[in-house]
């Protein structure tokens, strides 16, 4: 079971009739148990790439092979909850087969017990994001796609949720694709980091992280980050010279 992404290009025609190139050729694949992280400047086309990978956008050149009948769990950049359904209903609608014990456990972990019967309009953005995470986890996905899931959460909560994501990813055979701005999230969660260029996006560098996620202590994380920063600065310096 693998996710194979081989996009050779994607153009977008604006209302004014001009064509814009959104994606340059992008090619990577992701295996079970792996966390791939897309890191890139905002507006570089990451969300477009995700839409293509999820099968929501079929108007592109190239190929995306998802495992057949893969269950997808997705956390969108904005929570995308149904405002007219309660928190619990929102989760259950996406994951009809979930049993009560699992649901309770999920709500406990994400600290949502008190909000089960609330409507999304009554939640803060941070809470709504947690519901979106709960919904994505509840489907027990084969492919988990997270589009900046920890943005605008406070550090403590972001840290806890990051650990929850890591636990889930470790507990089930799941392919995970994470989009983030944060090098910290990328290094703590990722197995392979893909650094993207500004629009039209292409992969500048693919950086595997050799140390298993569980074995990464603060020291290792700091070292990897320092290495990455050196590397990207080096690349930038190299480009400036040429």
């Amino acid at each position: 079971m693998r996710l194979e992404v081989d996009i050779t290009g994607k153009t977008f025609r604006s209302a004014a009739g001009e064509t814009h190139e959104v994606l340059a050729p992008v090619r990577f694949s992701l295996g079970v148990g792996e966390v791939g992280v897309l890191v890139g400047p905002s507006g570089c086309g990451k969300s477009t790439m995700l839409r293509i990978i999820l099968g929501l956008d079929r108007d592109f050149q190239g190929d995306v092979t998802r495992p057949p009948n893969a269950r997808i769990g997705m956390v969108f950049q904005e929570p995308r909850l149904l405002p007219w359904r309660s928190v619990e209903q929102n989760v259950r609608l996406a994951a009809p087969e979930i049993d009560e014990a699992k649901l309770t456990e999920l709500f406990r972990i994400l600290e949502l017990d008190a909000h089960r019967s609330h409507f999304p309009g009554e939640l803060s953005l941070g809470l709504a994001r947690r519901v979106a995470l709960a919904r994505a986890f509840a489907v027990e996905p084969d492919l988990l796609v997270l589009d900046e899931p920890l943005a605008s959460l406070d550090d403590a909560l972001a840290g806890r949720l990051r650990e929850e994501i890591a636990t889930l990813v470790a507990s089930r055979p799941v392919m995970t694709l994470l989009v983030t701005h944060s090098l910290d999230d990328a290094v703590r969660l990722g197995d392979r980091l893909f650094f993207l260029s500004p629009r039209p996006a292409r992969i500048l560098a693919e950086v595997p992280i050799a140390i298993p996620r569980a074995a990464r202590g603060e020291a290792e994380i700091a070292a990897i980050k320092a290495g990455l920063v050196r590397r990207t600065q080096g690349e930038r310096a190299g480009r400036d010279v040429s």
Binding site: L56, R71, R85, L93, A95
Partner: protein, 245 residues
């Protein structure tokens, strides 16, 4: 409380006006009430009201279900919108009287003709409202439903329908008032019973108390149905919205 007060005010104005205008043109409230009671005692009032209500219900249900389906289709499928639009504009601007008279000519003075004519009059407004509602659907929620592999029916029921509910309520509200108005014309022109028929008779006999007795009972029924059926549905379909102060 406020409603009662406004009703009392209406009665007061009527009564005073009746005193000035005089008996034949505008009878006083007690005179009308007397006719109402007499008609109710004979059973005629309920018979005619019942006949009218049955027509309203049938025509309303027919027009709402058909209109909603067509409107949804036109909002979703561009081809359907292009094909249906000229028809829609024609129907929207066709006077109710033309539809009713043509229906009676083509289908005879039958119950089916009356109900179809009323439904056709209401249909286009339901289509237009639901088409707007469908166009305003949130695509990002459609995408969410697609990603989470919700079945068509599930997505329709939980994602689409709640978004359409305010539009359906609006179509029902405006449509119902349209049907109330048209049903009497249809009855006046071609049915042997119903409130419209009775009003036609009262008009020919210049019997204002009887005319008012039937119209006001009819108005009261409309008011009750609006308060007991339409408004609770509206309130329920929008209960997740934060209340306006």
């Amino acid at each position: 409380m406020l409603r009662l007060l406004s009703f009392a005010l209406f009665l007061a104005i009527w009564w005073i006006a009746a005193l000035f205008v005089g008996g034949v043109k505008l009878p006083s409230p007690p005179a009308v009430l007397q006719v109402m009671m007499a008609e109710a005692a004979s059973g005629a009032l309920f018979l005619h009201l019942g006949a009218t209500l049955a027509r309203v219900v049938l025509a309303f249900v027919l027009a709402m279900s058909l209109g909603s389906a067509i409107g949804y289709l036109m909002g979703r499928v561009k081809l359907a919108d292009r094909l249906g639009d000229p028809w829609l504009i024609l129907l929207l601007n066709l006077p109710a009287l033309v539809v009713i008279v043509l229906a009676y000519i083509w289908a005879g003075l039958t119950e089916a003709a009356a109900i179809a004519a009323i439904a056709i009059n209401k249909l286009p407004t339901a289509v237009v409202t639901l088409r707007e509602g469908t166009r305003a659907l949130d695509r990002s929620l459609d995408e969410m439903a697609a990603v989470f592999a919700m079945s068509r029916w599930r997505a329709f029921r939980h994602v689409v329908l709640p978004q359409l509910a305010p539009y359906i309520a609006a179509a029902a509200r405006s449509g119902l008032s349209l049907v109330w108005k048209i049903v009497l014309v249809a009855e006046l022109l071609g049915r042997p019973n119903g409130v419209g028929f009775e009003i036609g008779v009262a008009f020919q006999l210049f019997d204002t108390p009887r005319l008012l007795a039937y119209s006001l009972t009819f108005a009261a029924v409309v008011l009750v149905i609006e308060t007991l059926l339409v408004q609770p549905f509206e309130a329920r379909s929008t209960r997740w919205r934060p209340r306006a102060a």
